[in-house]
Point group: C2
Chain length 133, copies 2
């Protein structure tokens, strides 16, 4: 894994939280994007070489809606940038980690993504992401 690409934060009201994080970080949101397949709206902030990704649910069946119901607002996942997501998925499987998707899938921000089961990573939902060229 090369570096932390972004940290995902689940929020109830994306517009309200967007204003809040602009005040907190002292910088403007630079991009909003809907990921229809995941039922989420996203808002991005750039801080150093990382991004903060606010995540709001667009439907009740969205993973973010389920997270908010179970745990409330807060940090949802850490995403690590990788050069070759399939190789990294293979490496992690061999190390005994459980992947939540067997094939890379399309994520926000022009990325192929895969999630690692948080039961094997001390409760932390880890995302691998590879930029689509």
């Amino acid at each position: 894994m090369k570096k932390i690409e972004h940290i995902g934060i689940a929020v109830k009201d994306l517009d309200v939280s967007c204003g809040l994080y602009e005040k907190l970080l002292g910088i403007p949101c630079y991009k909003k994007e809907e990921v229809v397949s995941e039922g989420v709206n996203t808002a991005f902030f750039k801080t150093g070489e990382n991004k903060i990704e606010l995540l709001g649910a667009t439907s009740e069946s969205s993973p973010i809606a389920r997270f908010l119901e179970k745990k409330g607002e807060g940090i949802h996942h850490i995403a690590f940038e990788v050069d070759n997501i399939e190789l990294e998925m293979k490496r992690l499987k061999l190390e005994g980690f459980v992947l939540l998707n067997e094939q890379p899938k399309q994520g926000a921000d022009n990325k192929l993504v895969c999630f690692v089961h948080p039961k094997g990573t001390n409760g932390v939902l880890v995302e691998l992401c590879q930029e689509v060229k």
Copy 2:
């Protein structure tokens, strides 16, 4: 705020989790340090310009012990590097954020730190940290 300095992850058994994160990240832990005043043991990993800080409790009254009891293992806080922690604390107070300590205090890794109340930041415990020169 300049950049994300580290992400703190609360774990039950620091040695076990240290081995787990070495496998997950594919890199060794480069430092372990006890912060006696906070009742925590820490283990650090370097990933890009950020660090991952695993946090274990050394006593039952440690904030990490209380976090583990209440929420279980998982991401505990995000720390942002700042140049001047007192100026940043003042700025955040004027923006309406609530600080958990009125004066900067000594943290791990040679830092002065201050925490922002998670109720005002969508459930995310935010740490400001300034390197002590």
